[in-house]
C-alpha cells in the first residue's frame, strides 16, 4: 500500500478514500515479497488491539441486537418477544417522549453552539489583536471540565436561592424566579443551556482551524467588491467551513441524542419525565428495574440513528 496523498481537510470516518496501488508495478520482486511478509507482521502488530476491540465492542454489539428481541429481567429465563421492544418506541408514551426531548436538545446542543462557535471564530480570526489567545483558551475551558462538575456548577446556578434567581430579584424581575430545573416547562431548556455553554468552544476551535485554510485571496477579492464584515462572512467564511460544519453537526447532534451525565446528575429525567433522554431511559431499563431487552433495543436504535446522522451529513456535505 502506498501511503501518499493529502487528505481533504474534513472527512468523516466511514468513507476512507483508498490510495491507488499504482506506481509499485516496477518494484523489484524481492521488495514485493518483503512487502507481503510485512503485511502479516503488520497484522501481528495490530492484533492485540483488534482482538480487544472485537471482544469489547463487536461481540457485545451483536449481542445487543440479540438481546433486543427478548424480554428479560436479568435474572430469570429470557422470553422471545420478536419486535415488541422496538414497537414500544411508538406505543410507550414515556419512551416516545424521549425523542421529542432530543429534538429540543439538538437546538441547544447543536444549533446554538454552532452559531456561537461561528460567531466567535469569525471574530477571533478577523481581529488579530492581543488577547485573542486568551479568549480561545476561555471558550474552550468547559470542554476539559468533567461533565459531572459542569452539572454541579449549573445545579447551583439554577437553584431556587441560586445566583440566577438572586440576579433576577435584584433587577426587579423576581416574578420570573423559579426552580429552573424543577419546573416542567423550563427544566429542558435550562438543561439545554448547559449544553450550549459546554459545547460552543469546541465548535469554535473547529471553525478556527477551518478558517485558517481558506485562501486569503478570497477575502481580498470580497473586499475589493466592497463586502463588509457580514457579507464577507456569508460569502467567504461560511462556504469555506463546509467540512467543519459537517463534523460539528454530526458530533453535536449525536451528542444531543446521547446526553446522559448532565441529565442524570441534574434532574434524573424529571420533573416527571420532562427531561428524560434515550440514554437515561436505557440506563433505567438496564440497571434500575431491569427490562434488559428493552434497554438493548434503545441502545440499538440510538446506534442506528447516530450512524444514519453521520452518513447523511457526510453525504450532504460532499455534494455540490
Amino acid at each position: 500500500m502506498t501511503a501518499t496523498g493529502t487528505r481533504p481537510p474534513a472527512r468523516l470516518p466511514g468513507t476512507p478514500s483508498r490510495p491507488a496501488r499504482a506506481g509499485r508495478a516496477g518494484a523489484p520482486r524481492r521488495t514485493s515479497a518483503r512487502r507481503r511478509r510485512n503485511r502479516w507482521i503488520g497484522l501481528g502488530f495490530a492484533a492485540p488491539g483488534l482482538l480487544l476491540y472485537g471482544y469489547v465492542v463487536l461481540v457485545p454489539l451483536l449481542q445487543s441486537v440479540q438481546y433486543s428481541f427478548f424480554r428479560w429481567d436479568g435474572v430469570t429465563q429470557a422470553v422471545w418477544v420478536g419486535l415488541e421492544n422496538y414497537t414500544r418506541f411508538l406505543t410507550d408514551p414515556e419512551l416516545r417522549s424521549t425523542f421529542g426531548h432530543v429534538l429540543v436538545l439538538v437546538g441547544f446542543f447543536s444549533l446554538l453552539p454552532i452559531a456561537l462557535g461561528l460567531l466567535s471564530a469569525a471574530l477571533l480570526t478577523r481581529t488579530r489583536l492581543p488577547g485573542m489567545a486568551a479568549f480561545r483558551w476561555i471558550y474552550f475551558l468547559p470542554q476539559v471540565m468533567t461533565s459531572i462538575v459542569i452539572a454541579l456548577v449549573f445545579k447551583r446556578i439554577y437553584a431556587p436561592e441560586g445566583p440566577l434567581n438572586e440576579a433576577l430579584r435584584a433587577v426587579g424581575l423576581g416574578s420570573l424566579a423559579r426552580s429552573w430545573l424543577g419546573d416542567f416547562t423550563w427544566a429542558l431548556p435550562s438543561l439545554g443551556m448547559i449544553g450550549t455553554w459546554a459545547g460552543f468552544g469546541f465548535c469554535m476551535v473547529l471553525f478556527i482551524s477551518g478558517a485558517s485554510s481558506i485562501p486569503p485571496e478570497l477575502y481580498e477579492a470580497a473586499r475589493m467588491d466592497g463586502a463588509g464584515p457580514v457579507r464577507e462572512f456569508f460569502a467567504v467564511t461560511l462556504p469555506g467551513l463546509r467540512g467543519q460544519l459537517a463534523v460539528a453537526l454530526t458530533l453535536t447532534i449525536t451528542g444531543a441524542l446521547r446526553t446522559f451525565d448532565l441529565v442524570w446528575i441534574t434532574t434524573r429525567g424529571g420533573p416527571g419525565t420532562s427531561t428524560l433522554t434515550p440514554a437515561v431511559a436505557l440506563y433505567r431499563a438496564a440497571f434500575q428495574n431491569p427490562q434488559v431487552g428493552q434497554a438493548a433495543a434503545i441502545g440499538v436504535v440510538m446506534a442506528l440513528l447516530c450512524l444514519l446522522i453521520a452518513l447523511t451529513i457526510t453525504r450532504l456535505s460532499e455534494k455540490d
Binding site: M1, T127, T146, F287
Partner: protein, 269 residues
C-alpha cells in the same frame, strides 16, 4: 485592517461571551472557598480548608487512587496498542486490511450505549463487573478505533523513503518503529496521551454502571458526595474542583497541544 467601530463591537461581543463562560465557573470557585454552607461567596473570608474537609469527608483518597490507577493503565496500554496498530495499518500494511480497516472505523461511530447492556450482563458472571481490570478492559477496547486511526494518520504523514532506507540498512519492523518512527511522531503520541487521559479521567457513565463502593472512581464518588451533602454547597463545590483538578492542570500546562489535539481528533481524514 478593520475599522475602529468594528473593533469595539468585536471586543464587546468577545468579552460578553467570555463572561458567560467564566462567571458560572468563578461563582463555583468562590462557593468552594465560602464559609457559608449555602455557598454564598464571601470575598473577605476565604476558607481554603474546605478542600481538606471535602477531601476527608468524601474519602477522596480512595476514589482518586482508583481513578488514577485506571487512567494511568488505560493511557499507557492504550497508547501502546494504538502505536502498534497504527504502525501496522500505516506503515507495514495489514493482511486483510480492506475488510479490517472499515470495521475499525465503524468503531468510532458506535456509541457506548449500543454495547453497554451485553457488556454488563456478560462481564458479570466473569467477575469483571465491579473490578478495575474489567473497566480498564472496556476503556482499552473502546479506545482502539480512535487510537489506531489517530496513530495511523501520524505514521502515514512520515516520508515513505525513511522506512525504505531503514529497511535497506537491515532494520526489522520493530526496530524501525522504535528507532526511526517513534522519535518523529512524538507530537501525535503526546496529543493521544492528553486526550486519552482526559476521556478516561472524566468518564462517568462507565464507572457508574461498572464500579461500586470501594471501587468508585472520583467522578462517581463526587456524585454520591453531592447527593449526601445537598446542604453543604461549599464542600460540594470544593470536592468538584478537586475532581476536575487533574485535567484542568493539564489544560493549563499544555493548552496549545490540548486545543490542537481536540481539533485534529475531530478532523483528521
Amino acid at each position: 485592517m478593520i475599522s475602529r467601530t468594528e473593533r469595539v463591537v468585536n471586543y464587546t461581543v468577545l468579552v460578553v461571551l467570555a463572561a458567560a463562560v467564566l462567571v458560572p465557573v468563578g461563582y463555583f470557585v468562590l462557593a468552594a472557598v465560602s464559609p457559608d454552607r449555602a455557598g454564598r461567596p464571601a470575598l473577605g473570608d476565604l476558607r481554603w480548608e474546605n478542600f481538606a474537609t471535602a477531601w476527608q469527608s468524601a474519602d477522596f483518597s480512595r476514589s482518586m487512587t482508583v481513578s488514577l490507577t485506571i487512567t494511568v493503565v488505560v493511557v499507557v496500554v492504550g497508547v501502546l496498542l494504538a502505536l502498534l496498530g497504527g504502525y501496522g495499518f500505516g506503515v507495514l500494511g495489514v493482511a486483510g486490511e480492506r475488510a479490517l480497516f472499515p470495521v475499525v472505523l465503524l468503531g468510532m461511530m458506535i456509541s457506548l450505549e449500543a454495547i453497554i447492556v451485553p457488556l454488563y450482563y456478560q462481564f458479570r458472571p466473569l467477575g469483571l463487573t465491579n473490578s478495575i481490570p474489567g473497566i480498564v478492559l472496556i476503556h482499552l477496547g473502546t479506545g482502539v478505533p480512535f487510537g489506531v486511526f489517530w496513530m495511523r494518520a501520524a505514521f502515514r504523514a512520515l516520508p515513505r523513503s525513511l522506512f525504505e532506507s531503514a529497511e535497506l540498512d537491515g532494520a526489522g519492523p520493530l526496530r524501525m518503529l522504535s528507532r526511526v518512527a517513534l522519535p518523529l511522531i512524538r507530537p501525535a503520541v503526546y496529543t493521544l496521551v492528553l486526550l486519552s487521559f482526559m476521556w478516561t479521567w472524566n468518564d462517568y457513565f462507565l464507572s457508574l454502571v461498572f464500579l461500586h463502593g470501594d471501587n468508585q472512581t472520583a467522578t462517581v464518588a463526587l456524585g454520591v458526595f453531592q447527593g449526601k451533602h445537598v446542604t453543604e454547597i461549599n464542600l460540594m463545590a470544593a470536592g468538584g474542583l478537586l475532581v476536575a483538578a487533574p485535567v484542568l492542570v493539564l489544560y493549563v500546562f499544555f493548552q496549545r497541544k490540548f486545543i490542537s489535539g481536540m481539533l485534529a481528533g475531530a478532523l483528521k481524514e
